[in-house]
């Protein structure tokens, strides 16, 4: 065991902390700040923030320098995640592009795609969204029906995507489209890189139960995309998608730990103000949440170790997702137990503004659905890790 970071990694942490102290607006660090800013304005503030990070060398921490990254270690990426959460810096507005599309292009993209897509993505000059889910193809992604038909040099796309994060802000969409008419399930699908700024593409916001509109739906009506704007080859979209989703597996959970641990401390402060922090039953429940959070931290160190060793985490990443998402949801159920009869009050309770925690509580209902629902993750663990029969 050695739970320390290298001298170079700690030097990176010091640099990053110093830069954040100088550059992150203090108002942004206040809980609830982002709830006071209209969505569109918030998006632009965050987009500009990403550009400043890029220009200062704090983007693509573990990406090769040839793609505009910093060329750092997995440890530096973990430190970056931790420090950003500590500082309450906003999360990226290009998350799906950063986490999924860029690494896939680095792995299998053409030289031209590498050159033209990655750097603008990293600098948030081009915002990407992901077009996978459809109304009738959620967990069962292979049931997707969006169609693409060749027409000269182009492919003409029709269909609908849904649960699309950042749909209304995105410039481009990487979408799974059935380009072989009549093909079934995993065959005949292509991953197309479609320009959203055209008449054939309409993005509509989708209001979530939390009241926010991070998601949207995207309608394709004779949208056109050059056949060259395909990632991984025509008809090879399923394999490309599986490769793309595998890049989630480098995520250790340290970002979630840092941010959830802060939520825990805020819930504890609320318990104190409400005069309930010495109640034995609530203490037991809070402590149980903390036990699971600390286990997540140990697990994140385990995952980071495996990544540094170059291991393919494979299906093990389903365990990471289950641990953080279920723990997060449980934490906010404990928050509900703390509020008791005041649970439904949106106005301050005992002089305490709880809107940010309440919003997180509603958000927590989504984390066990997106990115592979808990039920899908349990199937993966049961079948591919434990070896139980299908």
């Amino acid at each position: 065991m050695d739970l320390t970071f290298s001298a170079a990694e700690e030097a990176f942490r010091a640099d990053l902390r110093g830069w954040l102290a100088d550059n992150l607006p203090s108002a942004w660090r206040e809980p609830g700040f982002w709830a006071t800013v209209p969505d569109a304005e918030a998006f632009e503030l965050r987009r500009e923030w990403e550009r400043r990070k890029f220009d200062a060398g704090f983007a693509g921490i573990d990406w090769p320098t040839e793609f505009g990254g910093r060329g750092g270690t997995p440890g530096m990426k973990a430190i970056y995640d931790e420090e950003m959460a500590h500082a309450r810096a906003p999360s990226t507005v290009n998350s799906l592009g950063l986490a999924f599309l860029a690494p896939t292009i680095m792995a299998i993209g053409s030289e031209e795609q590498k050159r033209e897509i990655i750097r603008p993505l990293l600098r948030c000059d081009v915002i990407w969204c992901q077009g996978f889910s459809e109304p009738d193809a959620g967990s069962d992604l292979a049931a997707l029906r969006a169609s693409g038909v060749a027409d000269g040099e182009d492919i003409v796309v029709n269909g609908q995507k849904v649960w699309t994060t950042n749909a209304i802000h995105a410039d481009r969409i990487f979408a799974l489209v059935r380009t072989e008419p009549g093909s079934q399930r995993h065959r005949g699908i292509s991953m197309l890189l479609i320009d959203m700024h055209q008449d054939g593409v309409e993005a509509r916001p989708l209001r979530q139960m939390s009241g926010a509109t991070e998601f949207g739906e995207v309608f394709f009506t004779n949208a056109r995309v050059p056949a060259t704007e395909c990632l991984g080859g025509l008809g090879n979209g399923w394999a490309t998608a599986m490769l793309l989703l595998s890049f989630e597996r480098g995520a250790s959970g340290i970002l979630q730990y840092t941010s959830f641990r802060r939520a825990y401390d805020e819930i504890v402060r609320a318990a104190r103000v409400l005069g309930r922090d010495q109640e034995p039953v609530l203490r037991q429940e809070l402590a149980q949440r903390l036990v699971e959070l600390e286990c997540l931290r140990y697990h994140a160190m385990h995952v980071l170790t495996r990544v540094e060793q170059g291991a393919d985490l494979g299906s093990e990443s389903s365990m990471t997702k289950l641990q953080w998402s279920e723990t997060y949801q449980d934490l906010f159920e404990t928050f509900d137990n703390l509020l008791g009869s005041d649970i439904a009050i949106g106005s301050p309770v005992a002089g305490l503004d709880l809107t940010a925690l309440q919003a997180e509580g509603f958000w927590s209902r989504s984390v066990t659905i997106w990115g592979g629902s808990s039920q899908v993750q349990r199937n993966i663990v049961a079948e591919r890790v434990l070896g139980l029969p299908r």
Binding site: Y298, Q377, R378
Partner: protein, 407 residues
């Protein structure tokens, strides 16, 4: 960052597991389990344990030990838990840790080489029946013995009176480390530099010979046949004091016990889960393996996550002790709470997902379930560790000034 076992540590665990598979499998466990009148201490196994060096792990090299740490011992504990192995390994290791941490040079030289070699089975008696773990739970008191010099570099002698229970393997132990209160010696604890937080009474650790006058061993029946339990009664029994002992050393010892128990529990839980998965891959009902039903799959997947977290937590807590990490107290409480729960859940699922056969005496499920159930309470049950977690993470969070003022 290296959150993993070294190749040497992995090899140590493999050696224990391979040995048990060859020489002490569940048939051998059953023989001990069902021989309730026996001492639960198979001599062939113990001889091998000594020869293999599993008792020497934490003993310094100068006393013929391996000079390793609790992290290495946790690897052995996990493998012994997986094998539901009987015998006084844990109790002897903890007695050795007491001697190593608080003994005089002469006491270490006398006892540690014998412990390391397996020549001396030992145990610890740290709490009274129904009491907590730590200074508050001690129900033995020590009185000075007339004519014996006290507080010198060598060991003083005390007369011990009181009781401790349950004590593991008391009947076969050649040595018992007993915790006793020492009225009016709080200053004595401070002298050791250990900074006792235990209140007014100091705590001493004493070396008790079970054969000495004033010592009574009362066997207790145990549902878990992979150990033997007894109550220790002391009526003025003379015992040598470990001169470095204090309430802080007692709490350190309890933490070591809690972490090694967590490792044992993690081993039990993993083995219970593995055996259950194997059975449910083969067991056919409704024309298909029962393990193909999602009702089982999803629960088993959740258990895999829980058991993995328990393994991480036990490993982290063991390292936290060795490296004296800042969050050591939290880490131990997290590990013991998590491992206890994971082992209970995994062994309960082992019974459930074996169906009727899993509820029979003939099947091995109950070895795992009963051992996990005993260890659930050993060195603190989950509620007590959760309260420790609460004290460390709720009572230490700063109150919000402005909001508090508004109330």
């Amino acid at each position: 960052m290296f959150f993993a076992l070294t190749d040497e540590q992995r090899a140590l665990g493999d050696t224990v597991r391979d040995f048990l598979a060859d020489r002490f499998d569940l048939t051998a466990v059953r023989a001990v389990f069902e021989d309730a009148a026996g001492d639960g201490h198979p001599t062939e196994l113990w001889k091998a344990v000594g020869e293999q060096g599993w008792l020497a792990v934490c003993v310094p090299e100068e006393y013929d030990g391996l000079g390793l740490g609790i992290l290495d011992a946790h690897v052995v504990a996990r493998a012994l838990g997986a094998g539901v192995v009987p015998g006084p390994w844990l109790s002897t290791v903890l007695a050795g840790e007491a001697v190593r941490l608080a003994g005089s040079e002469a006491q270490r030289a006398e006892l540690l080489p014998r412990i390391a070699a397996g020549d001396l089975a030992a145990t610890v008696a740290l709490r009274g029946a129904g009491r907590g773990w730590g200074a508050d739970g001690v129900t033995v008191s020590a009185a000075p013995v007339a004519g014996e010099p006290a507080g010198e570099a060598g060991s003083a002698v005390g007369a011990l009176t009181g009781a401790a229970s349950p004590v593991e393997y008391l009947a076969v132990a050649g040595l018992v480390v007993v915790a006793a209160t020492e009225p009016g010696t709080a200053a004595g604890a401070a002298e050791t530099g250990a900074g006792s937080a235990a209140g007014s009474a100091g705590i001493g650790l004493y070396l008790v010979d079970p054969q000495a006058a004033g010592v009574t061993v009362e066997p207790l029946t145990s549902y878990d046949g992979t150990t033997r339990l007894a109550a220790l009664k002391l009526e003025g029994a003379h015992a040598r004091r470990l001169p470095g002992s204090s309430a802080a050393v007692l709490e350190d010892l309890v933490r070591r016990g809690a972490v090694l128990t967590s490792a044992d529990l993690a081993g039990i839980a993993r083995e219970a889960l593995t055996r259950t998965v194997r059975y449910d891959q083969e067991r056919i009902q409704f024309g298909r393996p029962v393990g193909s039903f999602q009702a089982l799959k999803h629960h088993l997947a959740d258990l895999h996550v829980a058991v993995t977290m328990a393994e991480h937590a036990a490993m982290y807590a063991a390292y936290a002790i060795d490296a004296e990490l800042d969050d050591l107290l939290l880490a131990v409480a997290v590990a013991k709470a998590k491992a206890s729960q994971a082992a209970r859940d995994a062994t309960a699922a082992m019974i459930q997902y074996h169906g009727g056969i899993g509820y029979t005496w003939e099947h091995e499920t109950h070895f795992f379930y009963k051992r996990a159930r005993r260890l659930y309470g050993a060195f603190g049950d989950p509620p007590s560790h959760l309260e420790r977690v609460a004290a460390l993470t709720i009572d230490t969070v700063a109150a919000p000034d402005s909001a508090a003022a508004a109330v």
